[in-house]
Subunit: 69 residues, 6 copies
Amino acid sequence: MKISARNSLKGKVKEVTPGAVNAEIVIEIVPGVEVTSIITKSSFEKLGVEVGKEVYAVVKATDVLIGIE
Amino acid sequence: MKISARNSLKGKVKEVTPGAVNAEIVIEIVPGVEVTSIITKSSFEKLGVEVGKEVYAVVKATDVLIGIE
Amino acid sequence: MKISARNSLKGKVKEVTPGAVNAEIVIEIVPGVEVTSIITKSSFEKLGVEVGKEVYAVVKATDVLIGIE
Amino acid sequence: MKISARNSLKGKVKEVTPGAVNAEIVIEIVPGVEVTSIITKSSFEKLGVEVGKEVYAVVKATDVLIGIE
Amino acid sequence: MKISARNSLKGKVKEVTPGAVNAEIVIEIVPGVEVTSIITKSSFEKLGVEVGKEVYAVVKATDVLIGIE
Amino acid sequence: MKISARNSLKGKVKEVTPGAVNAEIVIEIVPGVEVTSIITKSSFEKLGVEVGKEVYAVVKATDVLIGIE
């Protein structure tokens, strides 16, 4: 399924921290560039997310804030 | 200001498309890895975003969906 | 691509209102049940959304508020 | 209170899974069309959500992504 | 309608900037405390928002980030 | 770091409820005006949020809904 979210960053699951309610997933896009996602436990189980698996970090452009130092 | 959003990806502004209402900003994190942000025109002007400037793409972990092929 | 968002409602595009910045899309899930989406103009064009097309309204469970009268 | 979110789907609570932190609520809009919401435990208790109760699934149009196969 | 969002700040519309696509609304909660909302033009018209009107700024607790200097 | 979110309300942490997964933080903007935020436990610990500390409640304008009675 193609999705309307503008950002779809391909990477590999580096770390997974399943919790009682949510699961925290660290995705390595390229060495040194990581994105952390938090999804519900049931979505985590449904998708079968595990370390080493190829996934996409999908983010709407309007959910990306800009920070400037 | 440190912010509670989990993802804060440092990069350089590669492309800017200011519009009547919003501005679209493409940030190059590293060569080949880009993130697109859409912020309001007034935030865009207030922050002084321009091509070549160093910025952070700030995203809450709960706003990162996981996609699997 | 399977996606971690919990809600993926299948329906048909009933109405499309493309604008300068965004596009407004009304999806008929079943007769009498409609969902309105607003996506960026470029995502709209990239996906080739048009009236009559079968699409999914994809919504994270945490983006669904509950209202009670 | 009328609210600016564009989608306000009327339905009946079909299933409730209260957790330590959040509560998961499945709303049947019409037979065969369900929407899942996750709200905080305190909001869940404050609103008195229970199976069989009439509720609205309230979603901003900008939080509805479009998926196309 | 009672809504599950945790924050519902009562205030008065101080400023309105209707645009082609969205409308920008500044709400004065108390003197010196203002909240800016951006909603779609059609929601703006449907609700009949105008300067001086009493409104609520409704925000989910998970949409409130914390910043620390 | 300046951030593109439109709302940045300065206040003091009044109450903190750390949980297994998330932490709930009540911020007093001015006496009688409070904002509740929910952030992940790890962000909570990383920022060192505690009662009495000066913080900002940061909210995107597009995440502020309007309610009218």
